[in-house]
């Protein structure tokens, strides 16, 4: 718990990163109707996909922020050497990423949906798909950040490396919401969440050991 407390404390004292990804999402959704069309009948079918894409990109944007500072000041080394299991340290990093990025976007989603004239029963399914989907995005983004931290031009490498892994989540999430909650997509998304929750922290632990030995 004390690891998580530290992450949240640091986040609250430097909220710029969290605000940046939130602003990014809000701006894209606000500008879209201005640039394409304000006609609700044309915006409506695009809504779910747009909000999902924006969420995904915002997560990628925020992926390496906190990890870069931990790497640069040596905290990451100390955490690897700590008595805490390394997979737990990595899971905490993912949770912190979700709290700073996934959670604000999730709370903002109804507003974004309203900006795109989405009918309210679809908003419910959009929220449901984001609740299951955004933690998966956070886990993969943290894995990507661990992989590239300490490399030259890591911020450029990270999206290329990790975006393909986010595609299944994107497809399942958007399909679930647009089909109005067809069970198959929901089950698949939930299964993907469980699978990434039990496997990715261990993958991250291996990667973190490599990162600190550079």
């Amino acid at each position: 718990m004390m690891l998580l407390r530290r992450e949240l404390k640091i986040m609250l004292r430097s909220p710029a990163g969290a605000i940046q990804s939130l602003m990014f999402a809000v701006l894209v959704i606000a500008l879209f109707p201005l640039a394409i069309t304000p006609d609700p009948s044309q915006l409506e079918p695009l809504g779910v996909g747009l909000i999902w894409v924006v969420t995904l990109l915002a997560c990628l944007l925020a992926a390496d922020k906190s990890l870069l500072s931990d790497y640069a000041d040596g905290s990451l080394e100390q955490m690897v050497l700590s008595d805490y299991p390394l997979w737990w340290v990595c899971l905490v990093k993912s949770i912190a990423h979700w709290v700073s990025c996934g959670l604000p976007l999730l709370l903002m989603a109804p507003l974004l949906a309203a900006m795109l004239a989405m009918p309210s029963e679809r908003v419910v399914w959009l929220m449901a798909s984001l609740i299951l989907g955004s933690p998966i995005l956070s886990l993969f983004c943290t894995l990507g950040a661990m992989l590239t931290v300490g490399l030259n031009q890591s911020s450029a490498l990270l999206p290329i490396l990790i975006a393909p892994f986010l595609v299944p989540t994107l497809i399942l999430g958007t399909q679930w919401a647009t089909t109005g909650g067809e069970a198959f997509y929901g089950y698949m998304l939930a299964a993907l969440l469980c699978l990434s929750l039990v496997t990715l922290p261990f993958a991250m632990a291996v990667v973190a050991k490599i990162a600190v030995s550079r």
Partner: protein, 196 residues
């Protein structure tokens, strides 16, 4: 006890060091000497367990906890000195007296800065925050990579006192330094020759 047996390390296709041997008993210090780029930091990382691509053996007596302080010593800019110190100690220790944290920082002459974020501290002061951990840790083996640099004379004096107290209690000290540290002039030396 800490023992190094025929330790060799390749990095980027060259021998960083080759066939190192050393043995440090409780209460002893070992100074790692070598030019810039001779592999001191890599050796410290190997001893700490952060770097595993080496040949040879590193033997530590069982259950001897290791504390590693490198060039980057884990002080976060957003947290205050107290919060940083508490976090760093809690990584390895279970019990902490709250007053002890403050006392340790005060011993390293951080008094006025206790409740400010570390971003407003100078580099030397941040280092003192990390070094205050030495006063409270229960680790028996200390690996201090260039711990004496970036400190002023009073800071160095406190650090050598703390190190001497650690050795008097049977602790092991392994350090590197480009300056001569008079208090540890008699310490055994391990010389790393520049790449071959």
């Amino acid at each position: 006890m800490l023992q190094i047996e025929s330790l060799s390390c390749f990095r980027q296709d060259r021998h960083l060091f080759k066939d190192l041997n050393a043995k440090v008993l409780p209460g002893q210090a070992l100074q790692i000497v070598g030019e810039n780029g001779s592999g001191k930091t890599t050796l410290f990382k190997i001893l700490a367990g952060l770097f595993e691509e080496y040949e040879g053996r590193v033997i530590t007596s069982d259950a001897a906890q290791v504390l590693y302080l490198g060039h980057r010593y884990g002080v976060n800019d957003q947290l205050t000195p107290i919060e940083n110190l508490k976090f760093l100690l809690q990584l390895n220790e279970n019990q902490l007296a709250p007053d002890a944290l403050e006392a340790a920082l005060v011993r390293f002459q951080l008094r006025a800065e206790l409740d400010e974020p570390c971003a407003s501290l100078s580099e030397g002061q941040k280092k003192r925050v990390a070094l205050a951990r030495l006063i409270l840790t229960s680790a028996r083996i200390w690996l201090l990579d260039e711990a004496f640099s970036a400190l002023d004379a009073p800071g160095r004096a406190v650090l050598s006192e703390v190190c001497q107290a650690h050795m008097a209690c049977g602790g092991i000290l392994i350090f590197s330094s480009h300056q001569a540290i008079p208090e540890f002039a008699s310490a055994a030396q391990l010389r790393l020759e520049a790449g071959s």
